[in-house]
Symmetry: C2
DNA sequence: CCGCTTTTTTACCATTTGGTAAAGTCACGA
DNA sequence: TCGTGACTTTACCAAATGGTAAAAAAGCGG
């Protein structure tokens, strides 16, 4: 009927959509949804504004696309925490993966933070259907470890929240940390050591 | 010469400025600087836009006024952590005060978070002259406690950052927590218990 | 109640913003 | 190489946005 929605996007399609999304990630993660403008995104992408609207139906479309992509990579580190291994090592591995994501994908972290700060208007469904079930599942996993005496007694929900808070903080509050801890190179190493020590102490029975 | 800058603001002045700042706090904390509009602020304040510009010279003036106010109350809990008492209790008290601020002033927390997320363009001076010296001082205080063996060895800077991260998270990511932990009433209590237990374990020698 | 100051409203304005129409230009298979 | 569909540009537009000028309305001390 309307748009046959091409089965295979052309090389140009792929390339330009990627450039737009990358530019939009810069812009949205810095200014939030309302604070970002299509002109900014267009300039950062090196394309004209109407050209951007050739690839996406509108500002919201770009933002939603970014959020959809984000959720995939965002949940993955937590998903990989499983019942298989030693509980303490599973949790510490999760913390390491999460901190690494803050270092490698700070823009994604800030995009997420912005969206939540603004009340998650465009992400409530994702939270409900994507994050919540995973969160509940992992809470039960941790609760199992606790009741089996394999880690120290701890509130599973607040434990996960503390892990999120401490790891994401290094990405989201980078501008503040740049003032307080100017030596950024050594920072990631000492941050990892600190978090590892802190959660190891908390979780060791 | 220009404006004699009234020595005593009238009752109406005080009242309306307060209403404007309160409305602006709502708006800026939710949408960030660029995402907030004067019309929104005006409507929330119940005043006309030109009337708002009678009390403040512009959008930025309102924002800067809010940030100035914020820094005063924001640094106070950390300032109150002193060398007098028992180190562990001083730190745990600080954590309690900080968590209480997240509960009582979530808008202020989000205003701060928004500003930092956006690269702290209007707050870099405050960070440098207000926060940084205080941070360094308290790091030294903690380092002294560590080397005296009065608390467990810990990186003072990362300790403070972890306290900020975990406590502020409950205000800044409230929209996410509302989905994951719907029972908000009991949440603050269990959050405090969790944080207290966590940092007590970390800091006990 | 008067006159003067403070406060508020009305009517604007230039710029920015998200978005569209339509005319071009490009790329690539026949 | 030429036609056709994919891509890009130019020229717009209506609404929103930050801000201003000046008239109107309140306050208020005397």
């Amino acid at each position: 009927m309307d748009q046959p929605r091409q089965k295979s996007p052309s090389r140009i399609q792929r390339q330009n959509r990627k450039r737009i999304l990358d530019a939009a990630l810069d812009t949205f993660s810095q200014h939030g949804y309302r604070g970002a403008t299509l002109d900014q995104i267009a300039e950062a992408a090196g394309l004209s504004k109407p050209n951007i609207l050739y690839y996406f139906t509108g500002k919201e479309d770009i933002h939603v696309t970014l959020l959809n992509r984000l959720m995939l990579t965002w949940l993955e580190p937590l998903e990989r925490m499983e019942a298989d291994g030693e509980p303490l090592e599973e949790l510490l591995d999760y913390i390491r993966r999460k901190l690494k994501m803050s270092r490698d994908f700070p823009r994604e972290s800030r995009l997420f933070a912005n969206e939540i700060l603004q009340g998650a208007p465009r992400m409530a469904p994702h939270l409900e259907t994507g994050l919540k079930p995973l969160f509940d599942r992992k809470c039960q996993l941790i609760a199992g470890w606790v009741s089996a005496g394999r880690i120290a007694p701890v509130d599973p929900g607040h434990l996960i929240v503390s892990i999120w808070a401490t790891t994401q903080h290094y990405a989201d509050f980078e501008a503040q940390l740049a003032v307080l801890m100017p030596d950024r190179d050594a920072q990631w190493q000492s941050a990892q050591a600190h978090l590892e020590a802190m959660f190891r102490k908390l979780l060791t029975p």
